[in-house]
């Protein structure tokens, strides 16, 4: 019993760097994103036939398949197959699976939880289209419905896959050389639509081949003369899927004529589009269900407005006629189709209104004015899907999920915006911590005072304080709110002012840029709230932004992109463009004492130049040995404060750290020897300080590395063909000035040093390395940053296979851990434990706890206002932010601290004093006046 108690007590004492339960979901945030949903592959569907509620399924433009709960916008499941490409997603009626085709992979997923049912891949081709065979010979099949896949880009043809197993039932090979376009099915026939391009150029003909669903044999084939209009696939508007009367519609380049063909017939109906304004695009909306009415809607988008026409298909006469028109509305909007039994309803979604019409007549069944939301301000719906509840002759409820032009995917329930998902954040390629202008100016003023003499500095400070008094009334007004807020633990909304007046410095802005050229600012301190978001294309008309890179300056960020001729400068706090002749360089202030050397990787070698001119002759070059190729280099971070220049040993002697701001770690790989080498280079002189080679390395995998203070680490994937089995290694090396304690190496106590001078040759660091086996591959690593560098550091690694981010305490991967023996008492007092070759990622180290952080490309860290805490922001496909305290939050009260109790205690003591004071006074007086006995 006692032993147990003692063990439990010891367990409590052991340092555990974990996220506390009450901190989870408060200090961190996660955007589990899908990406921009594709219009034709987004739909509401019941996850199984008996289900009461439906889920919202989509495949995004980056190939992620997912299901969203329409109630709150939470992600139910998603699957990122790692293939970005044209994705397709279909669900059969009353099925419990959804079938996807992304790239060459076709898979069926359990609709309710995203478990994989079957999957198959097409060799040497890519799925171009996917349909579900709803009916066979007019009878609907209640078992797992089969899928029809159109393959292209390689061998083209049509395959029928078994709905239960994914086995190929038959294949129709198309050897004609036509460009496959789409498949469509009617209850009796499968139609394969291809574009037949003449050899001499010009317009294409549309060839429709009908196939037998049972055997896959070709039944018939005919060609539609569309050469006057159709040049590319984009000219074809619609090839009707699974309707009773599948239609094929195309238009000419100028959008003057709309031509519609009922698939299976040769007749083409031609309609003139509204001539009132120049049309910019036409979209056809038709119901997907087999038994719905054969009606469809043509949506016309002009530069300023949108209108629509509804057409009816007469199945008996094989004729198409216009039924009614929906008037032109100013402002952008979109339409969505929904069906109830056989009835078809069209929903018109604009930024301020949602209205429903039935396909049979133009009477408006329901109309809702949409209450605006700040996140959708100024945006218009691009495309959407809708579910309508119609009772009698009026629509009683509607919900529509629409993608807005600013990248928000929102659900409008009647007139409320129920939720919105910031899907535009997916695919972030660059992010920086913004530097706010105001906080910087205070630092600047302090710097100014530092350089003045005492009296003028004093006057300057008094003046500054007097100026600060103008904020005093506002501060005083805010005081009750702040006190209440701190007592009741409520943090208000985040505004720029709040970020500037943030005491703890947790509210930091991250500016992130996506591959689509959207720039957003997120407040990491308040659950990743989007402070502003802009499209960079508005500042650079005509440019195509694909790979933006950001750099933060005081008050603004600089955006560079290969598609931009000159960098853009964006204000960090407002998102507006600022014009600057030249960006003030953050390095320049120190240059009066230091010589600036710049280096870059060019032609397979690292070259150093004096100054910033690119034309100058290289002062040094670092070339790897023959056969090796430099894959990356890692420099010490620009801002890397070091609290102590030495490491105190257990016997109170000092090992001096080798602190050189110019160190750069170069990673090179050689394919031939399966060798990976790291070179530690002094980038001021180009001198090689240390080198290490690893053999049997899978050089095709990435070798992430990081550098901080006087240590660096990198991670390798060991090749499975080597003697040792495949595995992952983490190598940590620490640099000291001398192997001997209390010794500062050859440079001695000299305060100044230069590696260019001859003295440098002798001053190589003493390197201690240790390698650890780790259970998972690391795709990216970085180190926490704090204000002074007093707090111990944590190595933050990204694990792509388990979708997590782990913070490894520095003590665990200390290269000075004693090998092959237990640590002595002195080493124990340093916190060193016996070396163990395996470092298992403790579940408590996982920063993301229950979140699945997928597709992380990079993790950036920043200091906060508190020394104990470092801010972490991870981006890529998902966005994740948290804060870590590697040495615990020693400088802030924990959440468990009961402020109310403290205040009550103080109040009770005060009341007690009020009562006791007269008693004590009387006693003292009495004791003075009574004669001692």
């Amino acid at each position: 019993m006692r032993v147990n108690a003692a063990l439990a007590f010891a367990a409590c004492l052991a340092p555990i760097a974990a996220i506390f339960e009450d901190d989870a979901y408060h200090i961190d945030f996660h955007y589990a994103l899908l990406g921009y949903p594709k219009p034709e592959a987004t739909f509401f569907q019941k996850p199984y036939a008996a289900s009461k509620a439906s889920l919202l399924y989509t495949v995004s433009e980056n190939g992620t398949i997912g299901a969203i709960n329409p109630k709150d916008g939470a992600l139910v499941w998603r699957s990122d197959q790692g293939i970005s490409g044209n994705g397709h997603l279909r669900a059969g009626e009353d099925q419990d699976t959804v079938i996807s085709a992304v790239g060459n992979r076709i898979a069926a997923w359990s609709a309710s939880d995203g478990r994989i049912v079957w999957e198959t891949s097409i060799d040497g081709a890519i799925a171009e289209d996917l349909e579900i065979l709803e009916q066979e010979d007019g009878i609907s099949n209640n078992d797992a419905k089969d899928a029809i896949v159109l393959v292209a880009h390689g061998s083209s043809g049509v395959k029928r896959l078994d709905g239960k197993t994914g086995r190929v039932k038959w294949t129709f090979e198309d050897t004609s050389g036509d460009t496959p376009f789409q498949v469509s099915s009617s209850p009796t026939t499968i139609y394969y639509i291809a574009l037949h391009s003449p050899l001499l150029g010009g317009g294409s003909k549309i060839r429709v081949t009908s196939l037998s669903p049972i055997t896959g044999k070709k039944l018939d084939s005919y060609t539609l003369s569309s050469e006057g209009e159709v040049y590319t696939k984009e000219n074809i508007l619609f090839a009707g899927a699974n309707t009773a009367a599948p239609i094929l519609a195309w238009t000419d380049k100028a959008y003057k004529v709309l031509k519609v063909n009922i698939i299976g017939t040769k007749g083409v109906s031609s309609f003139n589009t509204p001539a009132s304004e120049s049309i910019e695009s036409i979209v056809l909306h038709a119901p997907r269900k087999v038994n719905s009415l054969p009606h469809f809607l043509a949506e016309y988008q002009t530069a300023t407005g949108h209108s629509a026409e509804v057409y009816h298909v007469d199945l008996k006469k094989n004729a198409i006629s216009q039924a009614y028109k929906l008037p032109l509305l100013q402002g952008k909007g979109t339409f969505a189709t929904s069906t109830t039994d056989a009835n078809v309803f069209f929903t018109r979604i604009t930024s301020d209104e949602v209205s429903v019409v039935a396909s049979v007549s133009d009477g408006v069944l329901g109309k809702w004015a949409v209450n605006g939301s700040p996140s959708l301000a100024g945006a218009y719906p691009v495309h959407g899907v809708a579910e309508v509840v119609v009772k009698g002759n009026s629509a009683s409820a509607i919900r529509s999920a629409a993608l807005f032009s600013n990248g928000q995917w929102a659900l409008i329930r009647n007139s409320e915006i129920a939720w919105n998902r910031p899907e535009f954040l997916s695919g972030t390629v660059s992010a920086v911590w913004a530097q706010l202008p105001e906080e910087e100016s205070l630092a600047q003023q302090l710097e100014e005072e530092h350089h003045q003499d005492v009296i003028s500095a004093y006057i300057h400070r008094v003046q500054r304080h007097l100026r600060d008094l103008e904020h005093f009334p506002a501060w005083l007004q805010n005081l009750p709110n702040r006190i209440l807020g701190s007592v009741t633990d409520q943090s208000g909304s985040s505004t720029i002012e709040e970020i500037q007046h943030d005491t703890f410095g947790f509210h930091k802005l991250v500016i992130s840029a996506t591959e689509r050229g959207r720039l957003s600012a997120l407040d990491v301190g308040s659950q990743g709230k989007i402070v502003w978001s802009i499209d960079l294309h508005q500042f650079a008309p005509g440019a195509v932004i694909t790979r933006p890179s950001l750099k933060a300056f005081r008050g603004f960020v600089e955006v560079k992109d290969p598609g931009l001729t000159s960098p853009l400068f964006i204000n960090s706090t407002t998102g507006s463009q600022v014009s600057l002749e030249h960006a003030h360089n953050q390095w320049l202030p120190n240059l009066d004492q230091e010589t600036l050397v710049t280096y870059k990787l060019s032609e397979g070698e690292l070259q150093g130049f004096l100054g910033t001119e690119s034309t100058a002759q290289a002062v040094w070059t670092f070339t790897p040995p023959p056969g090796e190729k430099i894959v990356r280099y890692t420099a010490r971070p620009a801002k890397d404060p070091v609290a102590s220049i030495g490491k105190v040993l257990g016997d109170r002697r000092v090992l001096y750290k080798y602190l050189n701001p110019n160190l750069v770690l170069v990673t090179a790989v050689a394919e031939a020897g399966r060798r990976a080498s790291v070179y530690l280079v002094d980038s001021a002189s180009g001198q090689l300080l240390h080198t290490a080679s690893h053999y049997g390395v899978d050089v095709s995998r990435s070798i992430p590395s990081t550098f901080s203070e006087n240590w660096f680490s990198y991670s390798l994937t060991l090749d499975s063909t080597s003697k040792a089995s495949r595995g992952y290694q983490l190598v940590v090396s620490e640099l000291f000035e001398s192997p001997l304690p209390d010794d500062r190496g050859p440079l001695g106590d000299s305060a100044n040093s230069s590696t260019v001078l001859p003295m440098g040759e002798a001053a190589k660091p003493h390197v201690i390395s240790q390698s650890f086996q780790i259970p998972e591959e690391i795709s990216h690593m970085t180190v926490t940053q704090t204000r002074q560098g007093i707090t111990s550091r944590e190595l933050i690694v990204t694990l792509p296979s388990s979708n997590s981010i782990v913070g490894i305490p520095r003590g665990v991967i200390d290269p000075r851990r004693p090998v092959g023996r237990d640590a002595t008492a002195q080493e124990q007092s340093e916190g060193l434990v016996k070396y163990a070759p395996m470092v298992l990622f403790d579940p408590k180290w996982h920063l993301n706890h229950k979140y699945e952080v997928a597709g992380i490309k990079d993790v950036i860290t920043s200091e906060s206002g508190l020394e104990s805490t470092s801010l972490v922001f991870a981006y890529g496909k998902d966005i994740f932010g948290t804060r870590v305290a590697p040495s615990f939050t020693f400088d802030v009260l924990g959440k468990g601290f009961n402020k109310v109790q403290m205040l009550l205690t103080v109040a009770a003591l005060f009341v007690g004093v009020l009562f006791v004071a007269p008693l004590v006074r009387r006693k003292q007086i009495n004791s003075l006046w009574t004669v001692p006995q």
């Binding site: 010589t595 870059k600 110019n662």
Partner: protein, 184 residues
């Protein structure tokens, strides 16, 4: 009828009239009984108890003896203190801190109160010899202080190693600064 009451019994008479003076008898007092002295007796006794005053020399010797005792006293406490210090260990605890504090305080207070401590023994005859005593007193106190310093050192509170001065050592300044091109 009036009848004379009978005379009271003898014991009643004895009780009512106790003997005023001690009966002069030849019987000796019982052992342990001391009769209260009469004035004459007292005068006679005081005349007998007058002692011979010691000579100044004797006085000085006595005072020196006492002074030596005072001087040696701290040394007598030393073994006990040393054991106490050893037992408390080298960790920083409230008890060991208190003990170390007293170890430092006592010798310093003693040194400050040196004259006061030896003032009772100060006579013209002893003043010369007292210097030696005072030195010994200071030395024994210094021993006590030494024990304190040893303890503080064992606790690691004395800045005797390089690590204690690490905070005053500065990072080297480098005459070159190299940065990757993409940072500019």
């Amino acid at each position: 009828m009036s009848a004379q009451p009978p005379p009271p019994p003898q014991w009643v008479v004895d009780l009512n009239t106790p003997p005023t003076t001690k009966p002069k008898t030849n019987v000796a007092d019982p052992p342990g009984y001391t009769a209260s002295l009469t004035r004459r007796d007292r005068a006679a006794a005081s005349k007998q108890s007058v002692r011979k005053q010691p000579t100044p020399d004797e006085m000085d010797t006595l005072k020196m003896k006492k002074a030596w005792e005072v001087a040696i006293a701290p040394a007598k406490q030393l073994p006990m203190n040393a054991i106490g210090m050893y037992m408390t260990g080298n960790t920083l605890q409230i008890f060991s801190i208190f003990m170390v504090f007293t170890l430092f305080k006592t010798p310093l207070i003693a040194a400050l109160n040196l004259q006061k401590t030896f003032a009772p023994f100060e006579t013209p005859g002893t003043s010369g010899r007292l210097i030696m005593v005072k030195i010994v007193y200071l030395l024994t106190n210094a021993l006590m202080l030494g024990l304190g310093i040893w303890k503080v050192n064992a606790m690691g509170l004395l800045p005797t190693t390089r690590s204690d001065w690490l905070a005053w050592e500065a990072e080297r300044t480098w005459s070159e600064r190299a940065v990757p091109r993409e940072w500019l």
